[in-house]
């Protein structure tokens, strides 16, 4: 067990190192000049521009050699300092991300968990009820094949634009400041519903189809047939099949949860929802090295932590993994 965990942790640390290095490299490969873009927004006179340019290049430490920038980046990382955003100068990257992440979790966590739960159960039912299968299967394929932003646009059009049932942008109405009151909470939920629904529907389709296929596979497997030949009632066979069919779904859930930090870039852009996805788009457009880096760092962390947790969960739920550890 200790050896197994040790090995896993080592592999995760190595992956983290490589991923973060790539994360540092990629924004710097982008064409364009972030400082130039920052200054063009300020719109100063030419002589001031030159002076400010040198000032900012120094302030962001972009004048030192690349290897030094890389070392500085790691140093800062260990102190929890991800630098200062260029786009939202002079706010620290950490502050921006910390402000955005709750929106992602608030949006994605319910969407992922509820769609997973509902999808698994509806899929399992569809595996044995003919009429449900005939409706859920095509619907599921349709939903899961739908691009998130397309469904989001359709929802915005019908439920926002045409019927005015729901607001179409932002996390709350602009006249409010975030505070704790019933009206504000209702307003937040009102804004939250459409992006949530668009994510939920697409994910639901995928889960339901996956579960339906897995259950059918399990019900056709040898252990199910054996139990049936021994006259076991259906409820027991189904219980076994459901449990075994859940294993791949748990992996899928973990991968989805890993993407929780930035799993909804398209959706957040459509709804102008102020999560990490929305920030990434702006950071990229503004060549904001530090912000892009910071966002991706959190994505990397999310994916790795989720994978690690799932490795642990598998040890608990699947005896084959648990027993395989000693045989390594």
């Amino acid at each position: 067990m200790v050896r197994y965990l040790g090995r896993k942790i080592f592999i995760y640390l190595l992956t983290f190192f490589v991923a973060v290095t790539i994360d540092w490299l990629i924004p710097r490969f982008m064409p364009g000049d972030p400082i130039g873009m920052l200054l063009s927004r300020i719109g100063s006179r030419p002589e001031a521009f030159k002076y400010l340019y040198t000032y900012y290049v120094q302030a962001f430490q972009l004048d030192v050699p690349l290897w030094q920038q890389y070392v500085n980046f790691w140093k800062g990382l260990f102190q929890g300092d991800l630098g200062v955003s260029i786009w939202m100068y002079p706010q620290p990257v950490m502050t921006i991300i910390r402000r955005a992440i709750p929106y992602d979790i608030f949006l994605l966590l319910p969407a992922i968990l509820l769609s997973w739960f509902a999808g698994n159960h509806v899929g399992a039912l569809a595996a044995r009820i003919r009429w449900l299968d005939n409706t859920i299967l095509p619907l599921g394929y349709l939903l899961t094949a739908t691009p998130y932003m397309w469904l989001a646009l359709v929802l915005v059009w019908f439920l926002g634009n045409q019927t005015n049932l729901f607001p179409i942008a932002g996390a709350y109405s602009p006249q409010y400041r975030p505070h704790l009151s019933l009206t504000f909470i209702l307003d937040v939920l009102h804004h939250w519903f459409l992006p949530f629904l668009s994510l939920f529907l697409v994910m639901f389709g995928g889960w339901a189809i996956g579960m339906r296929n897995m259950i059918i596979y399990e019900l056709e497997s040898d252990y199910s047939r054996y139990l049936e030949a021994l006259g076991t009632p259906q409820y027991l066979i189904r219980r076994y099949a459901f449990r075994n069919a859940m294993l791949p779904q748990i992996t899928g859930l973990a991968l989805q949860l890993g993407g929780i930090v930035a799993g909804a870039v398209a959706t957040e852009v459509v709804f102008a929802y102020p999560g990490i996805g929305y920030i990434i788009l702006n950071a990229v457009q503004n060549k904001d090295y530090f912000l892009v880096q910071g966002c991706f760092l959190f994505i990397i962390l999310g994916v790795l932590i989720a994978n690690f947790l799932i490795d642990l969960v598998y040890v608990l739920v699947d005896p084959r993994t648990r027993l395989g550890m000693t045989g390594e």
Binding site: D222, Y226, L230, L236, R320, L323
Partner: protein, 315 residues
Amino acid sequence: MLQVENLTVYYKTIRGYVQALEQATFKIADGEIMGLAGESGCGKTTLGHSLIYLRPPMNYIGGRVVLDGQELPIWDMEKMREFRYRHVSLIPQYAMNALNPTRKIGRMIAELLESRGVNYNDVLPELKRRLDLVQLTHDVLKMYPIELSGGMKQRTVMVVSTLLNPSLLIADEITSALDVSTQKAVCEMLVEFRDRGFVKSTIIITHDISILYQIADSILVMYAGQLSEKAPSEIIFRDARHPYTRLLIGSLPKVGVRYREERLRGIPGSPPQLLNPPPGCRFRERCPVAFDRCVEVPPFLEISPGHFVACWRAY
């Protein structure tokens, strides 16, 4: 005592019925181990499974199955449920994969028994005795199937399948995936189970006739969905009357013959399509002694006590 009368089972396909089992009539006495032999696709598995687990694409066409004086509702999957395991049980071909991989074996057995209204703790002492009998430690109850070797899984399944002392046990190709020494052990266990009264009648489905010679009291040979011959094992090997049985026995390798010098004999030709089989005896295309009469189906007649043959040349 198992009586099968005119049992006919077809497979439903989009091109029509595949006539896999035609008018099977035979008896198995209490304590009899009957081997069911024939080449692939001859209907032996269809026959075996139809006695316990007749489900689509298998279609019940007609016939009766009477076990210990009680007719089995084999055409009704739900009504049959009650008879499975308690009266008719199965050791499946896939015994290696027959146990749920994510349940401990003891717990799986407990859940299986409880679902059939049997208290696990009542049966546990007997279960342990039987594990001893097949030389498995009691620890297998605390293990997952993955922790067992193939042979151990096979023996576990044998114990599980016979735990409720069924009247009829169907052992489907249970030696196919085993090495020779394990095959012998498994066969001896089946005899042991019979001798100890765990099961009354046993049907061993196999394409390996030489195994039957060692353990079966009688052998039923099938060809292309029809019964060819049933007789005590000695007679099948020494004095078979159906040309197919003779050729089948004749094509077995013999001890002391070098097959480098003498070619191993086979039966020329191949079995007919069962989708639209030719009328009459289905072996007649390959039969060396076929004649005009063979276009009629030969009845399965008892030509001497316990020796049944379906061949116009044999009566």
